[in-house]
Symmetry: C2
Subunit: 122 residues, 2 copies
Amino acid sequence: MKTLPVLGSERRRGERCSGREIRPRLTPAEAERLTADLTLLAHPVRLQLLEVLARYEGRVCVCDLEAAVPVKQPTVSHHLRLLREAGLIDCERQGLWAYYFVNRAALDHLRERIAAGLDRLG
Amino acid sequence: MKTLPVLGSERRRGERCSGREIRPRLTPAEAERLTADLTLLAHPVRLQLLEVLARYEGRVCVCDLEAAVPVKQPTVSHHLRLLREAGLIDCERQGLWAYYFVNRAALDHLRERIAAGLDRLG
DNA sequence: TCAGTATATTGACAGTCTTCGATGGATTTG
DNA sequence: CAAATCCATCGAAGACTGTCAATATACTGA
């Protein structure tokens, strides 16, 4: 952090720096929403799972997903659940197996919200 | 989760679902990088601070930032530090006061990396 | 030099997240 | 029906995060 010499003394101690009040344009609610979206994606395993599911248009079996990421089965199940509860993916059971697939529309909406949110940062 | 009847028995138990091995195209390193980028933004206070700093081209004093977010001064300082260590913002001290400002290039690069990363999800 | 002010840092606490072994439910095959 | 398989859930341990009171640091003005 640079240190600058004190210029004029236009500002006195005890005074609020800017006369005007500075308020975020991002309301707390908007910030929370964007945070939730970002948080959902902010995990390497979830990103990898999503990437695989998005690439294989067809359904992907859990055992293949397990083999694709560096965590054990209960952990895979956990992350799949988070993605599912967020609506990003869904699955069908077929006998013993569970086949997961992305919810294309939800994934697109998520990316749109994030892109729009990040645009608001300037 | 829907449950489908078992169709043919093209697949036997114990067999890997797909013959081919499914590998993420997102390497662990790439996933970690994207995760770090997303994590940095995934907090409402940091988002609000960034938004304010990005909007006010000039430097913004910490006391104004404090007034803009719903946490106490040490917490503001903490989040400013995270943003600063990530290179997204910087500050100059001027006498008693510290004025923060965004690093435009870094912010742009961050958004670019995130956009590129999300594009790889399908 | 001293008291006062702005910001940073420390330290402690509470809450959340990630992980995995153990277990359970569902299903299929023999 | 019994044994095996796949997947989900539970429960606990450890790591990490966010927060703030207290304190430290740096500076200013008197």
